[in-house]
């Protein structure tokens, strides 16, 4: 889960106080936020740094230290330390947040959420949107596979007054939405520009040739003769371009946003232009969100404009006309979604007694609108347009439960009687473990993932084609599922070389085999294995263990001489059931195998299939629905 740093003073200032209520304190937030589903990591002092090139502000913990590189404009602070300004400390709440609620990642949105919960401001918040003055024309080529980024939503925000705190919130909001909604700019990316640097009322969102034009990207000075670059050069030369190049490289044309006179605003989702960037003096924003998913693009814009309004209440939001092949529409569209909620269903799901009015009150304190209920058993709920997580009435039920307070629920058990039942293989495995511990063996549990060298080469045998193979292993040591317990046992002996001998170890556990007969193409099998190491350990010892084990498990086995490359010739036997089916192997481990593990004493081992030995059939995955 990512950590969101919420500036304490900015949040408290926006929560304010209700009529006659005491102001909310940082300590109140400590107990309040977990009840709202926000995991509080800590209340921390943060060091604030400013990128003097692009104006981006960073909050860093002492452990993190100053940033090395500007994530926004790509400035390299190691090479040019003078471009980074240390601006002292401030207090933040570090919150473990999940991507589902990006509408509460900024102090504006979070304050709105807290005020609702505290009853300071309930119901659907109203946001006025002014009539559009600017149109964006979308190039139909952006719907093609080789330049695919067809969706755009824009807004104009006027009457902006920035200071160092609000500018930071705006930038963080943008960045948090990039990972939470935008999947690191892939599904949606956001641009904010100084509207006063833009001209005309008809902007263009086009697909352009990678070398079709030049502009100065963010972070480069227009005075620098090399600053003008083509889109393709930006992906090569600019730090941010390199970081996100993978999003555009497969395409033959790149998206580009320009104003009425051809000035470049940005090359989504990579970088904005230097000339249009937001400065402290900026008083009007142009905002765009582009992406691959219409839904995500619209939600991101809705969150931005409503949060900007919460952060800076004086701003005026104005819509933008989007003209595309699919038709003409106006963004942002803050019309709430309508959802019908069954009152009884809600009360039963939460496990509380509430009527329609009480339920409506709970929902209103979570920022939902509730229309005058015609039926007492159903509510029509208006879900704010900035909520990205409400897909089903169940999501409203959870909101009502949070408003009610999990701590106020009456904890009780379902009264239904049921009979517990174990799996036979687990019960039998417990018996197998009891027998082996009774024989003086210590149980080990080893990793079920292993590799070809560990499972086969060290054991002087051919790779077993029945081993399940991982397509994208994370390390060379874990590329397959184990087909034997013995490598784990010998690895354990190897790390215990310095301790008293003899050592007797066993493991009872699953191995996994490819099996075309199975629905998933593989199956597990429960095996038991034992290993003995000591100065005088030999075949006779392991044979005695095998005899005792088989006897205690209540079955009979036949021992037959066999050949196996992992064992000393003439000192290895197959364990077979009464029908002659092989169920296991035992013997003295070959000295070359011992050398491979660096073991200095003889080792004898035994491995057998508990399932085959006992005739237990495991078919859980394939049981049919009819039986119950």
């Amino acid at each position: 889960m990512p950590i969101i740093d919420m500036p304490v003073d900015a949040l408290l200032g926006r929560i304010g106080r209700g009529a006659g209520a005491a102001p909310v304190s940082a300590d109140d937030l400590r107990t309040l936020l977990p009840r709202l589903g926000c995991e509080l990591d800590e209340l921390a002092e943060m060091q604030e740094f400013l990128c003097k090139v692009c104006g981006k502000i960073y909050d860093r913990t002492e452990a993190q230290g100053p940033p090395l590189l500007c994530a926004n404009c790509g400035a390299d602070f190691r090479a040019f330390p003078e471009e980074l300004e240390d601006r002292g400390t401030n207090r933040v709440l570090r919150l473990d947040m999940l991507a589902v609620r990006p509408d509460i990642f900024d102090p504006g949105g979070m304050a709105r959420y807290v005020r609702g919960f505290l009853g300071l401001q309930t119901g659907l918040p109203e946001y006025v949107i002014n009539a559009p003055r600017i149109t964006v024309e979308v190039d139909p080529q952006l719907g093609d596979d080789d330049s695919y980024r067809p969706h755009i939503a824009c807004a104009v925000v006027r009457n902006v007054q920035l200071d160092s705190n609000t500018i930071k919130m705006v930038m963080n909001l943008q960045e948090d939405l990039h990972w939470a909604l935008g999947r690191d700019r892939k599904l949606a990316s956001i641009g904010v520009y100084d509207l006063d640097t833009l001209k005309g009322d008809k902007f263009h969102y086009d697909a352009v040739e990678p070398n079709g034009l030049r502009f100065v990207p963010l972070g480069f000075s227009p005075d620098d003769p090399d600053a003008e670059m083509t889109p393709a050069e930006i992906l090569e030369r600019h730090k941010t371009g390199q970081a996100y190049a993978h999003l555009l490289k497969p395409m033959s044309k790149y998206p580009l946003l320009r104003d009425g006179e051809g000035t470049v605003l940005s090359m989504p989702p990579i970088i904005n232009s230097e000339s249009t960037r937001v400065k402290m003096e900026t008083t009007q924003f142009f905002v765009d969100v582009t992406g691959m998913s219409q839904r995500t693009v619209d939600r991101a814009l809705n969150i931005i404009v409503t949060s900007l309004k919460e952060i800076m209440p004086a701003v005026q939001v104005e819509s933008v006309i989007i003209e595309s092949a699919g038709g003409t529409r106006m963004t942002p569209d803050l019309t709430p979604a309508e959802m019908t909620l069954d009152v009884r269903e809600a009360a039963e799901t939460i496990g509380i007694d509430v009527n329609a009015a009480q339920l409506a009150e709970l929902l209103e304190s979570m920022g939902h609108g509730v229309e005058e209920a015609g039926h007492a058993d159903r509510l029509t709920v208006l879900v704010p347009a900035y909520r990205n997580d409400v897909m089903h009435p169940i999501d409203l039920i959870e909101d009502a439960a949070i408003a009610y307070g999990y701590e106020n629920l009456k904890a009780e058990l379902v009264p239904t009687f049921t009979v517990g039942s174990p799996q036979e293989i687990e019960e039998r495995s417990a018996t197998a473990r009891r027998v082996l511990t009774g024989l003086g063996f210590h149980q080990v549990m080893t990793l079920v993932l292993t590799s070809g060298p560990a499972a086969f080469e060290k054991w002087r045998i051919e790779a077993d084609e029945r081993a399940v193979q991982i397509d994208n292993p994370i390390s060379v040591e874990q590329t397959i599922c184990r087909v034997s317990l013995l490598p784990g046992l010998l690895e354990t002996l190897a790390i215990n070389k310095q301790y008293d001998l003899p050592q007797y170890l066993f493991e009872v556990g699953d191995c996994c085999f490819v099996d075309a007969e199975r629905e998933t193409g593989a199956r597990e099998e429960r095996l038991a294995a034992a290993a003995l190491i000591g100065t005088h350990v030999g075949y006779a010892d392991v044979r005695a263990v095998a005899d005792a084990f088989v006897h205690e498990m209540g079955v009979k086995c036949v021992v037959q001489a066999t050949e196996h490359n992992s064992y000393i010739p003439g000192r290895v036997a197959a364990l077979c059931d009464e029908h002659g089916t092989r169920i296991g192997t035992m013997g003295e481990v070959h000295p070359e195998v011992l050398e491979a593990y660096g073991l200095k004493h003889p080792v004898s081992v035994l491995e057998l299939s508990v399932e085959k030995l006992l005739g237990v059939v495991r078919s859980e995955g394939e049981r049919m629905k009819a039986e119950g």
Partner: protein, 510 residues
């Protein structure tokens, strides 16, 4: 009256009427070690039946330098002989010409010649002194003592005096010479009966043997009645024994399993290699969800493809993803791919087993299922992560399932797990709504810790499986629980166990 065998033997020997005896003599007569006899005598004296007369005396033997002169005369004796042969005087430098001494030995002899007044130096001349022994005079006392101690003999002053050796004078002369004579102080212990001892003997007394091991022979012939079993120091440490034991983590797994069985749950399982359909799609995880990335999930190359269940179920899941499919949900609004659902993964959670159980479950009936097993995540190894770890998942299908009964169930479950203080707070999990995070109070840390998630399965999960009742679900990772129980620093300590830990970690912890 009974005495230990050795004490009885000593007492009986003294009672034989030959009077007091020295300890070595007694030992010799009884055929026992001197130390055994000494110990018996001390015990008898404590009892007041014998008395021990202790006499100190000096014991003499020759040192390494003195032993040389057993075979040859002292150097001053040689020089006197030379002077006498030379007519009473000789040039000092010429003395070696007349005897076997070299110049150095002659020089060293001057100190003794002078002291004994056997000769004196006059200029270059050495002149026979007044005290020099005459030709007929016998050996001096020191010479006699040396001779008497010849052959590495050890003798007491008394013995030597009895032989006429002038011990005191000889020892005085030799004391000045380095390593000539070794004198040691010795004590003789003479043991004799007291009146009480005689009285005891006259009353009759029996001896008992002390033995360490009670042998089959002693038992068979009743001999144990005549011996005394030697007492031990029962406080001494014994050797370490280690019973064969189950792995501590197995004990954690067993406890969880027992709790579920006691609460009336049916144990289930599911395959490690799992279709993406069951691991993700059936749980309403959209196909572009980051958890499904190659970054986080192990995809399987062999086997290459999993079968899907009956078409009806697959179509239901597809519709739910795309537009809600009649579940009342908006769905994820994208085109669901059947091909991606076939892709095999190593299951990323045991919820894959509970969703399979839900698909098998008969609609309208109550059901409780649990699963314990390994799950796989593409994690880089560190002290809290391994690419494999164990999870437990439990679900309850019930008409009365609710957030309130979830809280009640979690409290009961964790109380049985040994955590009486439980709180739940709102949280988010992709396939549950409402969702709750469980917090447990740990007495050992005096703090709350997060322990696993829970919730009610979303309708988008249950309805395509043909289940209309609400379903409570919760789960937790078990390695973390075990690490807290056994105070482990690293998750690797569980799977790369050392013998000392396996041997020493007790089965029970207070």
């Amino acid at each position: 009256m009974e005495l230990p065998k050795n004490e009885y033997d000593v007492l009986a020997r003294l009672g034989a009427g030959e009077g007091p005896r020295l300890v070595p003599v007694l030992a010799d007569e009884l055929g026992l070690d001197q130390s055994v006899v000494s110990a018996a005598c001390v015990a008898l004296r404590e009892a007041g039946v014998v008395e021990i007369d202790e006499t100190s005396y000096d014991e003499y033997r020759l040192g390494s330098a003195g032993a040389v002169y057993v075979e040859r005369p002292l150097p001053e004796r040689v020089v006197v002989e030379v002077l006498r042969a030379q007519g009473g005087s000789c040039r000092l430098t010429e003395v070696p010409e007349h005897c076997e001494l070299d110049a150095g030995q002659v020089g060293q002899s001057l100190r003794w010649l002078n002291q004994r007044k056997w000769a004196r130096k006059e200029g270059d001349e050495l002149v026979l002194g007044d005290g020099a022994p005459g030709p007929e005079a016998g050996p001096e006392p020191d010479e006699q003592l040396i001779k008497a101690l010849a052959g590495e003999r050890v003798a007491s002053a008394g013995e030597l005096e009895a032989e006429g050796v002038p011990v005191a004078a000889g020892a005085k002369l030799l004391a000045k010479r380095k390593n000539f004579l070794v004198v040691k102080q010795r004590t003789d212990r003479q043991v004799g009966l007291t009146d009480a001892g005689r009285e005891l003997l006259s009353q009759g007394v029996r001896g008992r043997q002390k033995v360490t091991q009670l042998t089959p022979e002693l038992l068979a012939e009743g001999g144990w009645r005549d011996v005394e079993l030697r007492p031990y120091d029962v406080t001494l440490a014994a050797k370490k024994l280690y019973p064969g034991k189950e792995h501590p983590f197995q004990r954690t797994l067993d406890r969880v399993r027992r709790v579920f069985l006691e609460m009336g749950f049916e144990e289930i399982s599911s395959p490690w290699v799992e279709a993406s359909f069951w691991d993700f799609d059936a749980l309403f995880q959209p196909q572009d969800h980051p958890a499904r990335d190659m970054q986080d999930t192990f995809y399987v190359k062999r086997p290459g493809r999993c079968e899907l269940p009956a078409d009806g179920l697959v179509e239901q899941v597809k519709a739910t993803h795309e537009d809600g499919g009649g579940t009342g949900s908006t769905g994820w609004q994208y085109r669901w791919s059947r091909d991606l659902a076939h892709r095999p993964v190593l299951r990323t959670h045991t919820t894959a087993a509970t969703i399979r159980a839900l698909a098998r479950h008969t609609n309208g009936r109550p059901g409780k299922y649990f699963v314990i097993g390994p799950v796989f995540r593409r994690e880089t190894v560190d002290y809290k992560h391994l690419p494999v770890f164990h999870q437990v998942d439990g679900i309850i299908v019930d008409k009365q399932a609710s957030l309130a009964t979830l809280v009640g169930t979690l409290s009961a479950f964790y109380r049985k797990m040994g955590f009486p203080k439980v709180t739940v707070t709102p949280s988010f999990f992709p396939y549950t709504e409402p969702s709750a995070e469980v917090h447990l109070y740990l007495e050992s840390r005096k703090d709350w810790v997060e322990m696993g998630g829970s919730g009610l399965f979303r309708p988008e999960v249950t309805q395509p499986m043909g289940v209309d009742d609400r379903v409570l679900a919760w789960g937790l990772g078990l390695e973390r629980l075990a690490m807290m129980t056994y105070n482990l620093k690293s998750i690797g300590d569980l799977f790369y166990a050392t013998m000392p830990w396996l041997r020493e970690e007790p089965l029970c912890r207070s």
